[in-house]
Subunit: 192 residues, 2 copies
């Protein structure tokens, strides 16, 4: 399926769109290709764009002063990713967004995103539904982090995102779950 | 300022609304008053409503199997609160939402919320902007929890929400920050 058709389906799964509306929305996107380890957003950058993953696997993360990487989010096919704090507040990026696999993404500027939300009611409704889902995902993540039990975090991720767990290297999974690489290995071996 | 005027301002700070549109939106809300410690949502309940805080202070939390309370969110004047996971997914509540102070809230059913989002473009835009802010707030919270340093979490909350920190009892602040009551006391005394 070509990328235009996939984006069309992505929208119309949630909201109705006329062909003219989709054509207009589509005209604001551009395609970018990135190699594994290439960076979409670097900490400290100005952030202007929303990214929709057509192919590949991307992560957003923050590296603390000791050099340790904390992963906020993974994004694979059909997921949206950016540093939303920086994007919405016009502040420098506090996250790095980079590619775990070779990736193809559709890029939409936040200026155009805001314009389209004002102009097209269904576009606004679509992202309201998306943000609701994203909000709930983060809510669940916070509760898991507060529980502080590596086993529960691990099992919950396995239950919610089995495909993701197969694709993401274990070192990165550990940085996402907030557990050590050694603890994660023990979880895989069923020892904890 | 009366509650209707405050809700009107709350919307029109972010989006333009005609008087007719606001009148129509307003007609879907109802006022409820709760005493300190009263419960809006109990874990296990079906969840039907969004709550907007007119007066008071509310928390949403989850109690784990050992009986320990983990606080997801506080909500004071002008904040929205619910168990969004349960509300959006029509699953039983995994959170308890109850009052830290006597509270007055405006109540809107999620059915009406969805209807208004479909009918009124500005309503949809308003909650898209709100959800963006909420999403970013949760994103910051996750990064703080991943850092796992009680001092940084404490200082960050003090910086972002100084008023909240004055109103919330310290035992509850500790349950929000994911630190022990004793660690929090040492932070207040500047010992950590």
């Amino acid at each position: 399926m070509d990328i235009r058709t996939r984006l069309h389906q992505h929208f119309t799964q949630l909201v109705p769109l006329t062909d003219d509306e989709f054509e207009y929305i589509w005209s604001h996107f551009s395609l970018k290709k990135f190699k594994k380890r290439q960076t979409l957003i670097q900490e400290g950058d100005a952030v202007k764009f929303h990214y929709w993953v057509h192919k590949g696997l991307i992560k957003s993360s923050h590296t603390d002063e000791s050099g340790k990487e904390h992963i906020l989010q993974f994004a694979m096919e059909d997921w949206w990713v950016s540093d939303y704090l920086a994007l919405y507040n016009h502040t420098p990026a506090t996250l790095t967004v980079d590619c775990i696999e070779d990736s193809e993404v559709l890029v939409l500027s936040d200026d155009d995103h805001q314009k389209l939300a004002r102009e097209i009611h269904a576009f606004s409704n679509f992202f309201l539904l998306k943000k609701k889902g994203g909000y709930v995902g983060l809510q669940q993540r916070i509760l898991l982090l507060l529980f502080k039990n590596p086993r529960e975090r691990y099992e919950r991720l396995q239950q919610l995102q089995p495909k993701l767990m197969q694709r993401v290297p274990k070192t990165l999974l550990a940085a996402y779950l907030g557990v050590s690489r050694e603890s994660l290995s023990r979880l895989y071996q069923g020892e904890m």
